[in-house]
Amino acid sequence: MEQAIHPTAITPEITFPHEPAANTKRIWKTFWILLILTIAELALGLSHYIFHVEGWLLLFLKGGMIIFSVFKAIYIVSIFMHFSDEVKPFRLKILIPLISFIWFILAFLWDGTSYRNLRNRYNGPPAAVEQPAPHKAQKPGALD
């Protein structure tokens, strides 16, 4: 049990190599998945430009794009970087520190929102854009 199980391991540190794969079928399948996810993201991104959606529907579309991106990330890491072929101790070693992102994202976005609300409350509402009277209404020679 102490020596390498697989004869073609690169160094004695490695118990078994996860390659070579038999063919490139998995790679091309992943490519198509990534392409379809990207097109779906673009469709969502353009739809809120074309139809001018607002409010909850806009948040829903943005949520959709975030979910698609997370799936793209999972496919790139697990297939292209062979993360899913690694052994469990290593996968946990990488994944456990990433849990801190849950706090990282929530806390900072919450903080930013709170900053905006406080500023709008104490400095007055969003600085209205200065709108001079339309050019046509201005009488010639009028200074004001």
Partner: protein, 247 residues
């Protein structure tokens, strides 16, 4: 593939890597972890500033041009092309790694060259996009004076008055949300720096492969490590694309 391992196999008894990885590859993963946190810090601080602003430019108006198409309104078209180029170069890199496992030198050379080409094309696209944003000026009324400004790290012409642009006689004191230029050029620049490093690494790999260095060593693991880095660059682009161009 873990099916090769008998049940109850002891990973932590010493004499072998409990992660089933060589030292170099493990360190590449750990470097990529730290880089993940660097990029995350940049993107999350961008998010913080963005949600704390009452106005933020709509990417569909900011990124709506395409080289040699004049003023045609093509939102997100060019960045889609850039994304496609980067995904494609990631595929060619994984094919190079695949050929490396089969000890096929010609195959590794071929796919590495395609990967390098993809990386250079991506960098060219980014250079065009930056140049366009900086030099394509718009008139903005700043403190009673009309100034022609482009999008830079200190000012930009995007504002709430008109979607995308803030001219048409609306007067402003400080043009544009300044943070937009800061974060856009900062983060895409940092990502572009990573792409440049990746291209240089791949060029180095290409020459080492050509020299027969890995044939003498008996394995192409170094190509695999460069590949990990290259896929990471693609991975970061997924989130840069999401945060700056889509949301």
């Amino acid at each position: 593939m873990a099916t090769h391992i008998p049940a109850g196999y002891k990973w932590w008894t010493g004499g072998k890597s409990p992660y089933n990885l060589s030292y170099g590859k493990l360190m590449m993963w750990i470097f990529l972890m730290s880089d993940t946190f660097t990029f995350a810090a940049l993107l999350i601080s961008y998010g913080t500033i963005r949600v704390s602003s009452n106005y933020w430019p709509d990417p569909n108006y900011v990124f709506n041009t395409f080289p040699f198409m004049g003023d045609a309104n093509l939102p997100l078209a060019f960045v889609s092309l850039m994304t496609f180029i980067l995904i494609m170069s990631s595929v060619t890199m994984v094919l190079a790694v695949h050929e490396g496992h089969k000890m096929n030198r010609r195959g590794v050379e071929k796919w590495l060259l395609w990967t390098i080409l993809g990386g250079l094309m991506f960098l060219g696209c980014q250079a065009w996009e930056w140049t366009h944003l900086i030099t394509h000026v718009h008139p903005v009324l700043i403190d009673g004076q009309i100034k022609e400004i482009g999008a830079t790290i200190s000012q930009n012409h995007f504002g709430p008055a008109v979607p995308g642009l803030m001219h048409e006689g609306h007067q402003v004191h400080l043009p544009g949300p300044v943070g937009f230029g800061n974060f856009f050029f900062g983060i895409t620049g940092f990502h572009g720096f990573h792409v440049t490093t990746g291209v240089l690494l791949n060029v180095l790999m290409y020459f080492w492969v050509r020299n027969g260095r890995f044939d003498r060593l008996g394995h192409y693991e170094m190509v695999e490590k460069a590949g990990l880095y290259w896929h990471f660059v693609d991975l970061v682009w997924v989130f840069v694309f999401l945060c700056f161009y889509l949301i």
